[in-house]
Structures are given as C-alpha cells and as structure tokens.
Symmetry: D2
C-alpha cells in the first residue's frame, strides 16, 4: 500500500474521492489478487518466465444466500472477452465474483470461479443450480509465457478467498501482473468518486489496463514528450482494457449500460482512440436493491434514481476510470519478462515535472 | 365492428383474451384511425388513387401532465422506420402517441403528431420542452399513390383526437389501409391475452401487417394450398410489420425489450422467415409505474415483476401478435388500387375449410 | 448413423437438403463428439451419474495457417453463454473451432480448445499470438452430475481430433448427451438446405437443443397431445439452445447477423415463445472469402451476395434450424440420469401417427 | 469563409488535414446550409424570434441512378433522433442525403428530403420505389421559437440544391443556427484528416454541436477558466451532438460501426462525460465500393481494408470530430434569441491566450 498513485504527481483530477479512492469505497465490494512472478530469460513454454495472475472482485461480500447485483455493459471495442455478457444483457443482473486475468487463463479462471461459487452455495442451491461466471481478460504475452498455462485453480481460489474491502494493491498485481498501458508497464488501477445526485453515492472503478500506443498517451490532454525507452511490444496497441464500475446508487439495468458507456470517456481522456486489437469492455453494477435469489418472488419494488439525476453519476464514472488508468500506470515498476522483453515503468520524475 | 376475426374461422388460438381481444384491453390504451380511400385507375402522382391512412395509439389517455410509459424495442429485420427508437433505447421510456402509417407519410405524421402534442402540453411545459414522436411505417405503394403525398396533418389530428378505448377496427383501416400480408389484402390487426404471472395482467398487441410472400404463409403450421389469385406485388415480401405490445404488467425497460423480441415469435408462427426488404420492428410498453414528468424527482420506487415470472407474459405476447396478424388478414376485403393493382382478400371459405 | 431422423416420420419439411442433411454439407465443415455416460442412481457429486459431453465444429478443416471465417450472431434470449461473442461482433470473424457442452464445462472446454489450437498453430504463430475460443453451453444438470466436473481436457481433444465431414451423430451425443427439449430427451441435431440465390449455396445448421416446456411443443403448428410421461425437470423451460449456422454463400458480417436472427424463426416454428431462463444464442458463419491470417494485408476484395438476393438463404436457415431441432428430439432415446431423473424419449409411434 | 477556425488560435491538433479541412475533402461529398435568423424579443409562438435552419450532406453528388453508401452507426447517448437508423443497421448502407436540423423540424425535413429525392429519382425508379430519409436533430429551443414551426420545405430544398464540395460554412449556420456547445454559441463544425493505412485515405467529420455544460469544457484537457458570461440555458447539457463521418477508405458496414464509435472519443476529448438528455449519435459512411442500386445483381466483389490496418483511420476519425467540435464553437458569435436568451460566443482572446 505504499505505492505511488496519480495524485502523488499532481495529476489534476476532478471531484471528491471516497476514503480509499478505490472501488472498495462502494460498501460491500471486496478485491483480492494473486500475483505470479518467477523465472527469467528465454521463453520455454510451460516453464516460464511467468508474469501473470488474477484479480477477483466480489460485488457483495456475501453472507448467506447469493444475491444478484444489477448490471449493464458496454463494449467499446470488443476484441476481447468478458464471459457472462449475454446473461447480463438479458437478465440485467449477475451473481458472484468478477475475475480479471490474462487472455489464455480465461478457461482455468472460469472453472475455478465456478467451483469456488459452488463450494460456497452449491449444497444450499441444489444440483439443479447453474452458474455463469464473469471473467474478463487482457493479453500478457509480451512478458509472460502465456502459452504455458501457469495460472492454476488454487491461484484463483486464493484471490477469491483473499478478497477484502479497504485499500487495493495496484500496478503489476493480480490480473494486471503482465500488462502494459501506452507501452509503459501497468496493470491494475482503481479510484472512486463521491457524487451528489438526489442523495450521496459512491462510484468506484477498477481497471486492468493494457492498451494504447505510446504516441497516443496524452494525460489531461498533454502529449507525453519525455525521453526514455519504450516497451517495444510486438503489436503495440493490441492490448485491451477491462473496466469494472461499481456504485451504490440505485440504477436500473438500462441505466447501468449508460454508466458503462462513460468508462469509454475516461479511457479516451488518457489519449487513445481505441486500437483495433484492443478489447475495451466495461461492466457496471449497482449494489442497491439487494434481493436474495428467489424464484417465487412476485411483484417487488425497486428504488431507482431517475435519468434526470444521472449527470453527476456519469461524470463520476468517467473521472474514476480516468484516474484508475493513470493509477495503474504510475504504480507499476519496470518489468523484464520472457525473452528479456522489457516494459519500462513510467518515468516518475518526468511525470512530476509535466504536472508541476 | 362487424368484421370477421380469426376466431370466427376456427383458428385454434391459445390462451384467454381480454374483453375486446384488442390492445385496448390494457387499461388506458386508446386507438384511432384515419382512412383515406378515393380514386381509381391509372396512377397520376399527386392525384391518386389514394389508399392510405394513419393509426394512432395513445399509451395513456392522458388527463393532465404527460406521463412516460416504460418501453423496450426489437428490430427483427430493420428495413423500415420507427422514429424515436434511439430515445427509447436510452431512456427506457417514451412520451405521447405512437402513430403507424405508410412509408412516405412518416414526415407529415411526425410533424402532426408533434404539433398535436404541443397543442395539448406545450404551454404547460414551456418553450424549452422538446418532444420526439414515435412513428412507424410500412409500404403501401402497391395500391396507393405513395409518391403523391396525400396524407395531411389534419388526418393525423383526426386519428389522434378520435382515439378511443374499446373495440378497434381492423383490416384496411388507418395506417393499414393500403397494406398486404402474405400477398393477401391486410392492414391493422389486434388481439390480447390475459396472463397469470404472480398476478393477473393483460398483454395486448396491435400490428400493421404488410409482410410475407404467399408461399411462406403457414397459419398454425399449415401450408396455404387454396386456389385463387395472388396479389402480384412488384416485390413480394418487401413489406414490413410494425408491432406494438402493451401491458399493465410492471416490467422494466430491459424486460420490455425481452417482450418485444417475442413479437418475432408471433410473426414466425404465421410462416415467414423474415424477408430482406421487410422492416419488422416491435415496440413494447408498460403502463405500470405511472409517474408524471418531473425533472426534480429523486429516488423513486418502481414495481417490477421478476424475470422468473415472465414466461406467461412472453407466451401471451407471442400469442397476441400471432392472432393480431391473422386478424389483420381476415378483416380485409379485396382492394383494387393504383394502376388497377389488386390485393385479393383471403378466401374466407377456404380458410374456414382448412380449420374445420 | 442408423438413428431415426425427422424425415423418417413424415414430418413435412420444406426445401431440398444437402447430401447428408447436416451442417457438414457445407464444404470444409467437420464435426466431432465425445459422449460420457456412466453411473446410475443417487447423485454423488464428483462421482456421478455422468451424462455429459462435448461437440466440436471445425468451420474449416484447416490444412495450414489458420484462416478466419466471417461471422455474425444473435442472442434471442441471452440466459446462456457463448464465449467469443464480443470478438465476433467487433471483428466480424473468428478463428478456430466452436465447441458445445454442458454449462459447467465451459471453463474446461475453453482451456482445452485453446490448448488444442495452440498445439496446432502456436509454434508457427509465435508467443505473441492470442486466441479466444468459442464455447457455447446448455444445462445438463437434470440428468448429469453437473457440479461434479467430469468432462476433462482429453475429452475435448478427442472431439476436436475426431471431427469429420460427412454424417453427424444426433441425439444424446457430445454436448447434447444430457439435454432435453420440450421435456423430451434430446441433444444434438443437424440439417441442411440447398438454396438458389444468384448461385447455388448450402446452409447447414447444428443445434444443441435443451429448451421448451412440453405444453409449448407444436411441431408444424400441431399441439402435441400424445399421452405419456413427461420429463419432470426441476425448472421446465430453463434449458437453452445454441444453434450454429454454416454457409458457403459469401455473406458479410452484418449479413451473417441477419442470418443468425433467422435461427430464432426455426426455433419458434417448433412452438416455444422463448423461456425466461433459456439461453437461445445463434452463431452464423460463412466459409467463403477464405483468407489466411495476415496482419500485413492491404486492400482486399471480398465477394458478397447482395441483400436483395438473401430471401432464399434466410428461408434455408430457418428451415434447417427447425429440422435440426426436431432431429435432436427424434434421435434421442429415453435416458435415466442422476437421482433416477428420467427424460422420456418422444413416442415415435405417436409422432408417426400425428403426421401420417 | 472568413470565419475563424480552431487552428487560428493555436489549438494543438494532430495529424495532416485535407485541403479544406472539411468533410468535403472526401471526394463526392457536398454540403449545403439554409439559415433562418429573424425577429427579436419576446417569444410569440409561430412568429419568432427565429434562429433555426438545416444542413444537408450529400454523400455522393449523384449524377444518375442512386448509389448507396456503406454505413454504420453508434449511439453514445441516444436522447435524440437519427431517422433511418434501423435501415442502416440492417442493410449496412443508405441512399440519399443526410439532413441535420432542430428537433422540432424533423418531420418537415423528413418529408422535404423525401420529396427532393423523389423529384430527382422517382420517375426512373417507378412508383414501387420507397425511400427512408436520414434526418438528425439537436435542440435549438433556447434561442429559437422551436414550437413555432418556421422551417419550411423550401428551406430544405434550398439546402439540398445548394450543396457543394469545397469549403463549408461553420458556426451559426444551417442546422447549427440556434445551437450552443458547452454553453457557448456554436453550431456546425467540420474537419478532416489524411491517413495512411495501406493506402492514402481521407476521413472527414461534420458535427452539429449542441452539448455540454460549461464546467465540463476542457479543450486538450485544459479546464476553461476564462471569466465571462455563460449562456444560461434552461437545462444545461440537455443538448446533443450529431456527428457524421465520411471516408473514401473501403470499409465494410461493421467496420463503419467501429469508426462511428471513435466519434465518441473525439467528443470526450473536449471534456464532456455525455449528459443524460444529450442525443449523441454518430453515423459513418464510406464512399468506396460505389454500386448503383440493382436488385438483380449477383455475387459482387467489394474492396475492404482489413481490421489490422484500421488504427490510423480510427485516430483520424477521433481527431476530425474533436476539431470539428472546436471549429463549431470558435466560428460562432454571440447570439441573442427568443425572450432575449443570450448564447455568448467564446472569448477569442481568452482562447488564444490559453493556447499561446
């Protein structure tokens, strides 16, 4: 928790944050990471080097019967994966954790997330209960032996079991371990905003940031001119960003789709136009209107915040995603991965000078 | 109201209907038609022959301040127009009437519907009030002088002012005047279902049916083999269907999108696979959760019927659309339009024999 | 290959089929199944009984460098999973096999399908190559120990390695092993159509059919009245259908979305209105315009069949899906699974009598 | 054509422009405006004051038989109207002009655009020919008597007949006459980029800019701190932006949807997060692959630029939209409209100082 964050460099963010400036400022949300870093040198598929991991977000730290969270989604550029998307679009809610990882870990994480959920709830729900996990990914193959299958079910369980409210580790941790953003070393970032919109609400964001070409990088509209090495990825820009937005504001599913679209604004503010090979997919959920699963429930009231009140919530979402991305960059140090591939951390002194 | 309906021929529809077996069985919904039929013989653009009109559906017979209805939409094959669609998708509701007409009348109806709404509500809402009318269309140019611009603003006002609850005229009336379906003369049809789903609800449908090739026609799965003339449209199948679903069940916008998708099931049951040039667009709205427009409203409870209860509502929607289409066909008599173009009414005796 | 098919019962299907009346009539398409059936009696999670499997569809039996197939998708009711959907929507194509399986096998199949693909192409493509497998699912937990994790990577490899052109096994095989449709035992079904549309083309369908309530079943519009036991699923209708459409017609991605929507017509013709908990998701691909992956390629011509020619292709798609569903039902015998749960095969004599 | 443009103030735009830095740099694209400004003082509905108009974009200055342009669309926030959207999504192309106007003029413009098209092509196409015009709108009711219906068919014809290639008037002209952006007087803006992407292409943008709250305005990431009056709109941010992207790059419909999504990036770069009541809708078209309408055409080759080449085109689209928005602002002078409502032009000296 002693890592630098964007605010330490004078980046002129707008709006008041929650206490941790993290997605966990939304009550009930918990985050856990498993980080795998070992090996050096030439790639030997199946042996390493390994630079990967998984991040788990529990939308409700559940205490009993599973309770859906209302949700909506936006795919700004869908060259990626977010499993469970059809279900979210149809039902307007999802159950259980959201996991973020490297592209080639999706299957393992999907299975392990399911097994973790069944271990907690399967007996109570019975053998007729089915579950569709939510797993998002970005590509860590520049640094990681991504054809080698190093992430195992126990790593996923550890992230899920280790999920906590409070401060969230950023940078080269969890699913973000092997990621780069604007060809700087990056990974996981988070932020939050307090918004006043016919009540006081929190909007939190967590991103796994792995997108952008260096020449696109324009934090707060300023082109990055600092000298220094660039991570020479094989296919710059062929990364992705998965962004998760959480709020306690009582939004309906179609309103959460609207919120998810604002994540693209936060991304755009950092400079990119969205690259062809980038899977820029955003999921927004609301913890309000908690109702345990109950197939027998009849007509039920739900609170909702009318459309006319949403502007501050929209701005908070864009602000939080923008800050989460920059946090993901500043928190990450230079990393050398497979075949000596090097992802340079951003030059902190240059960044500080830029915003002095 | 003495026209034949599908049930008069023994068509084996499922499920209990409302009292009028019409969209107006949903309390508050009113329907009005203006029908223009004059002239015969060779087409003289701007003079006729005229076979067109407009149908107006008021989702709430309003009594004061306008109140949105919650809504969702599905475009099965979007080769047509339903104005207001972006707004419905974004806001999850719409204000004011839905009008159905011929393709080339959309602009006139749009303007006249707006003016009618402003005449009722403009002064109270003030000059900063804006409104986006909902206008759907299908193509009546086989029978009508559709390049001639015969529908005028006063015709639209008449339909809107004449909207009533209770029985609804079907066949070659209103927006359906010049339409054909499966190359039979057709037009407007309506139907309703009573459904039990954690409460008693009504689902009503009204269609402007102008789609399908004769060889596709398979009511209740039975190929139409009766001898007899076929309306030889220039481009068979290049029609469309606009279908409106109304319900008093408290559905949220994403659930109304789901309902709208069931209209495609009702359409498919009549035989078509959906033709390339057909604009098969469906709009579903719920009159529940009535709230007058109020930009200052804060957190507000809405009733909703959980997803788990929706199956009977879905079936009712498909059933009502299927019946509305067949009603649109059986209610229409042979019509001769411009250039002697002839749309043959379905052979009632053959239909009765088929389902005897 | 001696199983009964729908045509053996006089079901009045329309249109000419390809030689095998199977998705493999589209040149280059191959199908393989792994079927797991063992154990009886009371459920012991992790031990059985086991009634599950996986079906693999290779869109191009590849002979060298991987070549995308152009694709589009439609989610009629998204209460299910089809991984890779964001990518297909964005890029308009996909690479590699499509696998169908039980809901809780998605993760294992995803990983195994990836590993199979990397084993074939990973070395040539290099460590920077990433791949997003396509995996669809329906729920087999009424018969199968679906919380027990019985499907293993080697089963997936076997299905992939065993994929062949030519006849395709139907019913309780592969991914369809534990499935029911309209509360009859069902599983995998396939069919094809030859269509003339400015050229001669084939449209093939393969479905994993696991949807519908008995009272909805209306093949060719005729209600099923036969006496006999009904599979008493815990949550009738909470199944799903994944449908895959293949064609050699040169369709562009937006046209393949249009084709995928016609699969919902084929489904609707069998009677269902689409149940709430059903994941009814359809993927259409075209094998035309084969181009190996090549990031350096510049402007390239693609053949396309103009929209105006698509009606026969649309009808062929609806017809093939309808027949594939009925084939999936008639090919499956009664199966008893976990806890003695029984899915009754359709009464062949009653079916034959109905269509005599 | 002597108006100021963004580049006159040192705004640090990226990338090379076409010769006019306008949408008309795409060969074949022509633009025309009709501007209505008359009356002052208190609003008298139907009399004025009038501050409205219409802008017409011809995608191909047609010389004979109409020829579609390939197209795609993105609704970032759909609280607005763009007629023809269902058709574009379904067919992947559209015919004829795109018109931009004030919200309450949509009906009149729709009809007049249709009549203009029929006057040119109706006789040749015959009475069975139908056409769905494309009309977009934003709200000019802060300055204009928007309930008064001042725009007439002849104004639309004038804009269409007056459409020309070459320089494009910006600011308070055409459809932009009564518009404000970030509570500055604004209106129409345009820009273009030359991009190298396996060939040389032009991407042009034209926007009708009427969105944003003053406190959101952050050109190139810099908050606007200049003193000075703010246009006190009744509902700040309840404007909209319609953005049209044109290119001669051979993009397929699904690729043009992708391009349209980049318009949201250009918008986001100017500061807004997208307000609730804003209709932010974008349409992209390609003039490549010109083929006259021909219902008999069979398999036809189309050029396409593979996805892998699209990054420069995406960046060009975002750049052009960003510049078009800022051009729409700097070109507009202070305007006083109905009831003395005042929309202040941006302070040119302050802007120049900010980017000195």
């Amino acid at each position: 928790m002693t890592r630098m964050r964007g605010r330490d460099f004078g980046l002129p963010f707008s709006g008041p944050t929650g206490p941790e400036n993290a997605i966990t400022d939304v009550p009930g949300v918990a985050v856990g990471h498993t980080t795998l870093i070992h090996g050096e040198g030439a790639l030997r598929i199946g042996e390493g080097p390994v630079r990967t991991g998984v991040t788990a977000i529990l939308p409700r730290q559940e205490t009993g019967r599973p309770a859906p969270v209302w949700a909506g989604m936006h795919s700004f550029n869908g060259a990626g994966e977010l499993t469970g998307s059809h279900f979210v679009a149809e039902y307007g809610w999802f159950l259980g954790p959201v996991c973020l990882t490297g592209t080639h870990n999706v299957g393992v994480v999907h299975k392990a997330s399911l097994d973790w959920f069944l271990a907690r709830h399967g007996a109570a729900m019975g053998p007729g209960f089915w579950h569709l996990p939510i797993v998002g990914e970005t590509w860590d193959g520049f640094l990681n032996d991504s054809h080698g299958g190093h992430l195992k079910p126990e790593h996923v369980r550890d992230a899920l079991d280790g999920a906590r409210p409070g401060p969230v580790a950023e940078g080269a941790v969890g699913g973000g371990t092997g990621m780069s953003c604007y060809q700087f070393k990056a990974g996981i970032g988070t932020a939050s905003r307090r918004v006043a919109a016919a009540g006081q609400w929190t909007v939190g964001a967590l991103v796994q940031a792995n997108f952008g070409r260096r020449e696109e990088f324009r934090p707060f509209g300023r082109p990055w001119n600092a000298a220094g090495a660039t991570a020479r990825e094989e296919k710059p820009g062929e990364g992705s960003i998965i962004g998760i937005l959480a709020t306690d504001a009582p939004l309906l599913p179609h309103q959460l789709q609207r919120l998810a679209r604002r994540a693209a604004v936060g991304m755009a503010r950092t400079g990119t136009s969205g690259n062809n090979g980038s899977g820029d997919i955003f999921l927004a959920f609301s913890t309000a209107n908690a109702l345990p699963l109950d197939a027998e429930r009849g007509v039920t009231p739900l609170d909702h915040l009318p459309n006319e009140q949403l502007n501050p919530v929209f701005t908070g979402a864009a602000d939080a995603v923008e800050e989460a991305i920059l946090n993901a960059i500043v928190a990450a140090d230079t990393m050398i991965g497979r075949d000596g591939n090097r992802a340079e951390g951003i030059d902190h002194a240059a960044l500080r000078a830029m915003f002095a």
